[in-house]
């Protein structure tokens, strides 16, 4: 589904990603871990099409398309979903409205009929159960005055409604208490399917107890320095990221 080939990306002239290679197949869950500043979020943003990041080298093939040539909105319409690390507050735009507009824009692009208000509300209701979200949050402005947990749940709700092919969760677990984390993880797990791939970007191993990945990659200083199965995450948890630093130096030397 997704093939990242030797991606280099920089922001304001500073290189953050220094040659990332990654292959993700449908049905797989990949976790990308790494210390602060290793480039995890940059990778997520680059895949979603944030223009501030300049891709200087490499390519990304997504379902046989050159992903980097697509606009952010077309990437979303092609089935890519980024759950933001820091979901944006948009005063004056109702949560429901945003979701309905987004869903219909995506459907239109894919030649499907747009949903009317009734159909949409029925769909929304069923998806809300997934993330145990309160009805009142729907009528409020997007993320405005939401708690940290509510914002993250809202991201998962959006994902549930938009039904992406490839979901990228950027530190969706950060700042969540254990109850919220369970709700978010269970929402994600319910969305796992054979034709959907999920990339979980996280700083902490904790989330991976709830969303069990097929593969774990460790990002350090703009490169994937180690890949493995879920045991790698445990090893990281135990030894910390400093252990990697030594590994990395070993590799370099």
């Amino acid at each position: 589904m997704l093939q990242i080939k030797n991606i280099h990306a920089s922001i304001e002239g500073k290189e953050i990603l220094k040659g990332i290679n990654l292959k993700v197949n449908a049905g797989e869950v990949h976790a990308i871990m790494g210390p602060n500043g290793s480039g995890k979020s940059t990778l997520a943003q680059v895949l979603a099409g944030r223009q501030e990041y300049e891709v200087t080298k490499g390519e990304v093939i997504y379902n046989n398309k050159d992903l980097l040539s697509l606009s952010p909105e077309d990437r979303a319409r092609e089935g890519i979903f980024l759950a933001f690390q820091y979901p944006i507050e948009i005063p004056g735009v109702s949560n429901t409205n945003l979701l309905k507009t987004a869903l219909n824009e995506i459907r239109k692009y894919n030649g499907q009929e747009e949903l009317d208000a009734m159909e949409f509300l029925a769909l929304l209701k069923s998806k809300m159960k997934l993330v145990e979200m309160d009805q009142s949050l729907l009528n409020r402005a997007v993320n405005e005055g939401f708690s940290g947990g509510e914002k993250k749940r809202n991201e998962i709700l959006q994902m549930a409604v938009l039904e992406p092919k490839l979901a990228i969760l950027d530190e969706t677990d950060s700042g969540l208490d254990i109850d919220a984390l369970r709700i978010v993880a269970s929402g994600v797990n319910k969305l796992r399917s054979e034709d959907r791939a999920i990339i979980v970007v996280t700083h902490y191993q904790r989330l991976l107890n709830y969303i069990v990945p097929d593969f774990v990659h460790v990002l350090y200083n703009g490169r994937i320095v180690k890949s493995g199965t879920k045991e790698l995450a445990l090893e990281l948890e135990e030894k910390g990221y400093d252990w990697l630093k030594d590994q990395k130096e070993l590799v370099m030397n």
Binding site: A48, G49, R50, Q51, S71, P72, E73, R75, A76, R77, F81, L82, F84, P87, I88, I90, P91, G92, V93, N97, L98, T101, A102, L103, E105, I106, Y109, A141, Q158, L162
Partner: protein, 438 residues
Amino acid sequence: MGHDVDIRDWYISRFKDFENSLNGESLKPIHMLRKEAIEGFAKLNFPTTRDEEWRFTNISPILRFNFKPSLKIKKITKSTVEKFLFKELNCHLLVFINGHFAKEFSRTNNLPKGVVAGNINREISNGSELVGRHLGKYANHKEQIFTALSTAFTKDGAFIYVPDDKIIEEPIHILFITDTNGEQLLTQPRNLYIAGKNSQVTILEHYASVNEGLYFTNVVTEVVAGENSIVDHIKLQEESVKSFHISRTEIDQERSSNFASHSISLGGEITRNDFNSRFNGQGGECTLNGLYLLNGNQLYDTHTMIDHANPYCNSHEHYKGILDGQSRGVFNGKIMVRRDAQKTNAFQENNNIILSSDALVNTKPQLEIFADDVKCSHGATIGQLDADSMFYLKARGIGEEKARTILIHAFASDVVRTVKIEALRNYFEKILNDRFNK
């Protein structure tokens, strides 16, 4: 400078024509006021950008034309008038064409007993005591040349009187239509609204033009909000982009009165909107909100002054601008909290979104606080559509144009959603859609 003098002389010489057109009316006491005003006008100078109050608003384009004071009504068809009405809105209606009352299009049935909603010319002719008592008492013509010009040519405008304890449920829609037919006209509506003790009224002041003519509207409006009255005011300006519009609204607020104004404007070539409110008793509440949508070479200037002369009064001010092209916005919000005005709450905010690289905003809060137990705040922002929000919407599959429209709507919604009349909120939404949802 020489040209300013010429244009002043031009208006002075037009005053003679005006006097002649008045016939017997020039014998009424109000004519003394007119004459005093024209004498004052002759001594005043048109403001330049050297005047602090006009620093960013160069009115010299207005002085380039010899606008002819509109002395008579123009015939227009019913269907032309209907174009400017709001179908979903049940209201009383006063229609003015080129500044003159058009009785045949107006409709003021079912008003509570004692309420007057009509034209001020009729009141003047009848020797109304209320007009004598209030006209020109709040908008002083001695210092402001445009007010002097208005006062000198006082002829017609809207007059609303709501006696004590009367409540008018339906809004009064005052429609000022300008149809120049190629003439460079000066129309000068002179409005007076008086709300008695415990009364309530909603007034929509609506300026529109039949065609994209070049003309000059110079409005002076005086509002008396009596004790414990509620006056809800909406000003909608959707005129020719070539027109000039200078407007001054003076509000006299008595004890515990509540005045709210929403000024929604699509601008003209040059627009200047002054809103000045004064709390004459304690416990008053004043809301001044506004939204301006500018494009091309338009210049739009809002000057407000809220005079907290008494304690326990609240004022809220929120003006928002969306500017495109080479348009320019000016906002100057003055709040005066006098020494005795303890427990004042005064909040002011001016936010602007600039959609092009050439648009410009000058914004200036001006708080003068002489009391010590008060809460006052002000804020001003000038920026572009938020890039993070744009990306967030796009990352959800929403395209550039639509994302822009959504964010502009969201920006404007603070002001639009506080308009109490649903039909107008819908109309303002439509204005936003027409402009940004292409």
